[in-house]
């Protein structure tokens, strides 16, 4: 019995501990396909609704049903939303992993387990609560085949009681989750209530963890990065989406299809967009390039293996100067790698994707908010610079739930770049597609279908001169490649600038990018509070690198480049770009465990390298 377990630990004096309020990490260990996602989302939302900063991270296998899955919810009064390494409250539902899950906890943690698992005797430095799920679910769910799905809602009620999460908020979150499915909502709420009632009558609170109402989420929303990216693309005027399903990018395409159906139907009831689920990633990017050539804002979304397949077309976009947008929701490679784990390891391969001398613009969003905003940046840059633009998101950012400020309605009109219309041609008579008329290395283009006899030009991936004619002449080739180099350099001043946070007199700097921003924010506080080490921080938001990045390195003694890959790819890219004298200042903190980055790992590594 649970009460007996609790009694044991009471005897060890553990109940007397100081309460830990709004600062904990809850982990739900389950098997995938068991329907726990709804329960976990309800828990996350309830805490959110109580005004406490919270984040949810799903660590799931590349499988549909039956393999271990962990969902971590972190509530933190100070707003730290990165993954926390240490688990405070374990909900052990998976018989396969329960033992290991319990043994890996730090002393002082609490464990809620399914009674038959009999975990209570494994350790005496934890608080154990046991719940007879099967008995409880049978009372609320007469239909046996539904019990498996409803069972998980019981722990939501138990946790609500143990952690002081208000049942009113649980109900609100649950009804939002099940939306129009009222019957399912009623059944699930009954299960949560049964869990709550059981905990009230049979469990004695013996751990220190509590949720207490705060006021930190006013006006905020919860959203995953892929949905935010999709919405951003719709707002940015994207009308052609071609894609090939691949984890973790599929949900971006799928949300976008939903948004397009909702917001992009013309007055005649017809779609003003086109979506193709292509036969493979080569076709997906081929369609994007065809559509971009013909004047549409077009995009595809993929992950590492797809990026590899798109290599040849990426070079075509670069060399023939055709706008295209590609979202790379990075996962762990090489090859198939770990398809459901996160990484930042496509940086180098994407920067130079394709053969010959190529360089590509990359954007690095770090939040759903930036996913939304950078969608607009990506399309504007692709059309202004007439090239392929990669938005480098990742699985952690794309698929997990994040607290976010609402997205602002775009204030500026979209920028279509240098496109000559029939009227322009009437005025000028003719044009040279690849001639640098304005000194910014960007030529003027026309779109197929422009009704002017001088509008047409010949697009090709083979050598060409300023008039877009086939040419193998050395001076044409060199001139063109030199112009492309200048064009790429010009992009430095057009891409999103880095975000820099400085403190007084910091000697060391930290450079990060993308979703690891949240762990770095927390790590900087840990370095300051635990090691008296103040740091300045620069968050890269785009490649080619803005000039501020080199200045940042110059003005610090040592600069730690933090990233999620083995080979310090961003550092390598910086090394290629920075003045040689700055390179020795760079230090690498590169991690590749496939899990969302946690602050503690970074703090410990930097502290050690700083001799602390």
């Amino acid at each position: 019995m649970a009460t007996t377990d609790v009694g044991l630990h009471d005897a060890a004096g553990r109940a007397a501990r100081v309460p830990v309020v709004n600062n904990m990490s809850i982990q739900v260990a389950t098997v995938n396909g068991s329907g726990s996602q709804s329960s976990n989302t309800v828990l996350l939302r309830s805490i959110f609704q109580m005004g406490v900063p919270v984040s949810g991270k799903n660590l799931f296998p590349s499988n549909i049903a039956g393999l271990p899955t962990w969902y971590t919810i972190r509530a933190n009064k100070d707003g730290y939303v990165a993954r926390k390494k240490e688990i405070d409250f374990l909900i052990a539902m998976n018989v396969e992993t329960a033992r290991d899950d319990v043994m890996s906890l730090d002393p002082g943690a609490a464990v809620l387990y399914d009674e038959p698992l009999k975990l209570g005797s494994l350790r005496n430095d934890l608080t154990f609560y046991s719940v007879p799920y099967d008995k409880l679910v049978a009372t609320v769910c007469p239909e046996a085949k539904l019990r498996k799905l409803v069972k998980n809602m019981i722990y939501v009620g138990v946790v609500a009681k143990l952690l002081d999460i208000e049942m009113g908020e649980i109900e609100k979150a649950l009804r939002k989750q099940f939306a129009k499915k009222v019957k399912a909502a009623n059944l699930n709420f009954a299960a949560a209530q049964a869990g709550f009632d059981y905990a009230s009558s049979s469990l004695t609170k013996a751990d220190p963890f509590r949720i207490e109402r705060m006021n930190k989420n006013v006006g905020k929303i919860i959203m995953d990065g892929n949905s935010a990216s999709a919405l951003g693309c719709v707002f940015a005027g994207c009308t052609v989406l071609s894609w090939y399903p691949i984890t973790p990018s599929s949900s971006l395409a799928e949300s976008m299809i939903e948004y397009l159906k909702r917001f992009r139907i013309g007055p005649d009831g017809k779609a003003t967009f086109a979506v193709v689920q292509a036969e493979d990633e080569l076709a997906a990017i081929g369609m994007v390039i065809g559509a971009g050539w013909a004047g549409a804002r077009a995009m595809t979304t993929t992950s590492g293996p797809g990026i590899s397949l798109m290599s040849e077309f990426a070079g075509l976009s670069y060399y023939a100067e055709i706008p295209a947008v590609v979202w790379d929701i990075q996962r762990v490679g090489p090859s198939t790698g770990l398809p459901t784990r996160t990484s930042q390891a496509d940086i180098l391969s994407t920067a130079f994707l394709s053969h010959g001398d190529t360089k590509h613009i990359m954007l690095f969003p770090s939040s759903p908010h930036e996913c939304f905003e950078m969608a607009m940046d990506a399309f504007n840059l692709a059309e202004k610079i007439q090239t392929i633009v990669f938005v480098m998101s990742d699985l952690d950012l794309g698929m997990n739930n994040w607290i976010s400020d609402p997205f602002p309605y775009p204030e500026k009109p979209i920028e279509r770049g240098k496109v000559l219309t029939k009227e322009d041609l009437d005025k000028f008579g003719s044009f040279s597609r690849y001639k640098d008329v304005d000194g910014d290395a960007i030529g003027y283009r026309t779109l197929p279908g422009t009704q002017h006899r001088a509008a047409a030009y010949f697009t090709r991936g083979s050598g060409h001169n300023a008039e877009a004619q086939y040419s193998e002449r050395a001076e044409d080739y060199e001139g063109n490649m030199e112009r492309l180099r200048r064009k790429f350099d010009h992009a430095r001043s057009l891409v999103p600038a880095p975000v820099i946070e400085t403190v007084l007199d910091a000697e060391i700097g930290i450079i990060g990018f993308g979703s690891t921003h949240w762990a770095l924010t927390e790590s900087r506080d840990q370095l300051r509070d635990e090691h008296k080490l103040t740091t300045d921080y620069l968050r890269i938001r785009a490649y080619p690198f803005a000039n501020e990045i080199s200045e940042f390195v110059r003005s610090h003694k040592r600069v730690y480049v933090v990233e999620q890959n083995r080979d310090a790819q961003m550092l390598a890219l910086l090394r290629l770009d920075l003045d040689g004298e700055l390179v020795p200042k760079l230090r690498s903190v590169a991690r590749l465990d496939g899990l969302p980055l946690d602050a503690r790992s970074v703090t410990d590594e930097i502290a050690a390298m700083e001799g602390k």
Binding site: T239, V240, S242, A274, V276, A278, E279, D280, L282, A283, A284, I285, G286, M287, V288, I289, G290, A291, G292, W293, A294, G295, A296, A298, E312, F313, L316, T446, L447, P448, G449, T450, Q451, H452, R453, A455, A456, Y457, F458, T459, R460, G461, S462, Y470
Partner: protein
Amino acid sequence: MATTPSTPKTNRLGLAVLDYRGSKTTLCAGCGHNAISERIIDAMFEMGVQPERVAKLSGIGCSSKSPAYFMSRAHSFNSVHGRMPSVATGAVLANRSLMALGVSGDGDTASIGIGQFIHLMRRNLPIIYIIEDNGVYGLTKGQFSATADLGSTLKSGIANELPPIDTCELAISLGATFVGRSFSGDKKQLHSMLKAAIAHKGTVLLDVISPCVTFNDHEGSTKSYEYALDHEEPL
């Protein structure tokens, strides 16, 4: 009408055949592809297609160079090997008033591009897809392609040991709405087929036997002028 004999004939748009011409060909003299370019010019002129409404697309190879040799007033895109179908698909999705004319070869279609070809046939978008089919890789100097017939030989005498892929049969099995096979040497038939293709709403596949005079016009080839003339059965 008081016309002078030197006034060129014009179509319904008031355009002359000259308005449908392209750059000078750089293909070999006698190449079947040049004849196909000529037929495209004539058919487009006669059907009164506004050149600016046409988007010419191709992959890589001798055949894929040919869009430069007709209709200079239409935008053109010489893309990557075997992937023209996807680029053409993107273009017609972006601008639904375009008429897409894709030119490919047998290597570009039946070898490297078979996947995209198959999926293009399934979608029935408004794209005319012409295979300039000579059974051989010309630009890399005469290797077999996947439409080369079993037992047909290279110039060196080496015989093809694999059965050919019949692109027309494949297209029909995939539900293509217009499938035709012609011969670059049959001016009349190809001309009418192209006109019918232009009139068709949906995807058109035209497989045009187009002999390679340099690498596949010898005895033992089943894609030579002589063989084609002997075996052609015009409908």
